[in-house]
């Protein structure tokens, strides 16, 4: 499967210096950014929180991938990612999170994005690059490389 992640990651949706007191606050920040770029209806926030409480979206490597529920796909206006870095870390169920990759996608787009992210995170060098990238453009470029 080929997924052009750069097409769904706007440089405006990459935030490198986020702060959140806890997991819930971090989800709210993710929803804020998805809303700001016009990717989702405001109600998508509730779906993200519901999904998080149903099962932690922590996936390892210091990364969580907050997203909505299958039934909330109608609240997605445009398939999009947001990358939020929390340098101070956020306590999460499953581990300590320093990067949130928030996903808003309709239909099969969700699984395609998860697949592409999974392949990045399974590669320790690329996972580290995602955590350490110095500017938003570097993160967008990193995802552009994933055209396998």
């Amino acid at each position: 499967m080929t997924t052009n992640m750069s097409a769904v990651l706007d440089v405006r949706a990459v935030r490198l210096h986020e702060v959140a007191a806890d997991r819930e606050s971090a989800i709210h920040r993710c929803a804020d950014v998805l809303e700001e770029i016009g990717a989702v209806h405001p109600s998508y926030r509730e779906a993200m929180l519901d999904r998080e409480w149903a099962m932690s979206t922590y996936v390892g490597e210091g990364v969580a991938i907050p997203h909505g529920l299958d039934m909330s796909r109608d609240l997605v206006r445009r398939d999009s990612l947001a990358v939020l870095r929390f340098p101070g870390g956020v306590e999460w169920e499953g581990g300590r999170v320093t990067v949130c990759v928030a996903i808003a996608a309709r239909g099969d787009g969700h699984v395609a994005l998860l697949s592409a992210l999974g392949r990045i995170l399974l590669d320790p060098a690329r996972a580290e690059a995602l955590r350490a990238a110095g500017d938003p453009a570097a993160i967008v470029a990193m995802l552009e490389m994933d055209e396998t």
């Binding site: 499967m1 099962m55 299958d70 969700h110 998860l114 999974g118 995170l121």
Partner: protein, 90 residues
């Protein structure tokens, strides 16, 4: 030993579905790998590895295991892949 199964979950192999399967795989007697026609084998007990397959509903999954308990392990996982975990079993 190989077994093929069609993925049943309507929403595809998303994170929760992968977690359900990886959790079960970790308890099986034999390690199982899963591949698709597009993607090389990955361990069935890794959530990230399973979602990296990008499998949609109806995707043919090729499960492989060897040694003691291989048949039982394959049968167990094939059942899970062939069941939509988002629909409660009655």
């Amino acid at each position: 030993m190989i077994r093929t199964v069609l993925l049943a979950g309507r929403a595809g192999l998303h994170l929760r579905a992968a977690a359900r399967i990886a959790g079960a795989a970790a308890t099986l007697p034999a390690p199982v790998t899963v591949r698709t026609m597009q993607r090389p084998p990955v361990p069935a007990d890794s959530v990230l590895a399973l979602v990296s397959l990008g499998a949609l509903c109806g995707t043919e999954l090729i499960l492989e295991a060897d040694g003691d308990g291989a048949a039982e392990s394959l049968a167990n996982l094939a059942d899970l892949f062939a069941t939509d975990g988002d629909v409660p079993r009655v």
